[in-house]
């Protein structure tokens, strides 16, 4: 498939990594990341976050739960250690931004603004500590506030990554766009739980975790479809993409680009395989944007 333009930036193809599933040191042992349209990196916070206790991972039918808790070394370490290497190799880089309050998002955005990162993606699925820990992303007002605040600290394009744990995804997407979001990505993980039959307690130390993988794909397709019909900005679609045909389905739903997450955890070379398979799907089914 031919490349795409997003915010005036050229992508070789419409495939990127989903935040939190690409590791700049380990993933390139399995494929050349330069072959992807863009690289989306793991959520970074203003200071290092320790994440949740183990176990953080549980398997579910055609999916997985994760409760990593956004463990990350902080934005300074990201800017010093991870970003330069990716940018030196000429990749389009999307930095995923995390925070527990609006000022934390802004602190990260201010620092990233001074780097050569290409695009910022706000992960609004983080708990809003000032509002009792409910995710920013479930409240259109909170999404509006965090998006407009972030926009004031950078001229770089900002994508808002929506949480699917809402009744009306369109309302949230519209709030983000009204606040100046240049693009929308969706979906993040769905909140889920598994209970250990022997102990009667949740398997994850955190109790709940985020569900990802093919199990969530129909929900993701539906949400991308609804949002694409309601807003006018580019959309990065994700949620359970395992093959090129899955990616093609997201393009049909209205996505401009797609992101590969869980697939890359279980088949480390999946992102580049999906680039090739998507080309085949386009040959087979035609241009999805027509």
């Amino acid at each position: 498939m031919n490349g795409i333009e997003m915010f005036g930036i050229h992508w070789k193809n419409p495939v990127t990594t989903a935040a939190g599933t690409f590791n700049a040191k380990e993933s390139p042992k399995y494929y050349n990341p330069e072959l992807l349209g863009a690289i989306t990196t793991k959520g970074v916070s203003p200071i290092p976050w320790r994440g949740n206790p183990l176990p953080r991972i549980a398997e579910t039918p055609s999916g997985m739960l994760n409760a990593v808790g956004l463990e990350n070394p902080g934005v300074d370490a990201y800017i010093e250690q991870e970003l330069p290497e990716l940018k030196q190799r000429g990749m389009v880089v999307i930095a995923n931004v995390a925070g527990h309050e609006i000022e934390e998002y802004c602190a990260v955005v201010r620092k990233l603004d001074k780097t050569d990162v290409d695009i910022l993606e706000l992960n609004v699925s983080c708990p809003n500590l000032k509002e009792g820990g409910l995710a920013f992303g479930v409240d259109p007002k909170a999404v509006h506030l965090v998006t407009s605040a972030a926009k004031q600290h950078t001229k770089k394009p900002i994508i808002v990554k929506l949480s699917p744990n809402v009744t009306n995804i369109v309302e949230i997407a519209k709030a983000a766009v009204a606040a100046g979001a240049d693009g929308i990505s969706l979906i993040n993980t769905l909140v889920g739980m598994r209970i250990d039959l022997n102990t009667g307690k949740p398997i994850l130390a955190n109790g709940t975790g985020g569900l990802s993988g093919p199990a969530i794909r129909p929900i993701a397709i539906r949400m991308v479809y609804e949002v694409a019909h309601a807003v006018d900005v580019p959309i990065i679609g994700m949620g359970g993409i395992m093959t090129g045909e899955d990616a093609y389905e997201f393009l049909l739903a209205g996505a401009t680009a797609v992101a590969v997450g869980t697939a890359a955890l279980i088949d480390p070379a999946a992102p580049v395989r999906i680039v090739q398979e998507l080309e085949e799907a386009v040959r087979k089914y035609g241009d999805p944007r027509k």
Binding site: N23, Y30, I57, P61, M64, E71, G213, L265
Partner: protein, 272 residues
Amino acid sequence: MKKRERAQILENIKIGGGIQRIRLHAPEIADTAKPGQFVNLYLPQKQFLLPRPFGVADADGQAITLYYMVVGQGTELLSEKKSGHFLDILGPNGNGYDLSAMGEHILLASGGTGIPSLLFAARRLRELIQKSDSSAKKITAVTGFRDTAFLVEEISKYCDQTFVISETDGTQSKPLGMTGNILNLFFALEAGSVKASGLDKITGCLSCGPMPMLRAMDQWCGDKGIALQVCLEARMGCGMGACVGCTCETTVGKKKICVDGPVFDAKEVCWV
């Protein structure tokens, strides 16, 4: 480049004690695998996404050997696969034991399904001793089990002395016949109820088993100034360093068990 690949099953049989031995044709993995490293096995049923990690128990020429206990749905399905069939596999993963600097008398201490990686270590250590390629002169294995013992005969081939203890079945425990855990066994041996030649002269220890056992080994070795390497376990999302599902706290910061480990210097581990 490293990749998830298909490997033919050469053998997949019950060996007793609820344990299966599986041998897979995987020349590239067999060529480089070191004791303490593990492989990801993927189930052929697509609804089971996540890899099952297993320690490499042997590697020679074309094939690797793994031993697994049937504990859940995945290992159950695995045990039904016949030789001739194919499985997806990724490896070798992780760092492996450092066999070079463990001194003259090396202790291998296993608990339950921790024994496969130590079986491989025992074999490689014996080869080093035979080639006079190491400071090591003597190997002692101490193996603990919940119920039935397994792989004891195999590991004892490479060890100068092997002790067994079962938590529930004293007839499995050799030579003492007592029930309990590895630590109970050490104390009994130290109290002199059996001649454990040179147990007081252990210079280095490799240990693999459940966390509480490893923590106890850390204390036991720490008190005696014995260098200890521990092989840790965690539920894994990817087994290759991408998901941050498996990190542990160490004195030198957060480490991923799947790529920075699973083997760590016990002194570096922050025991919780």
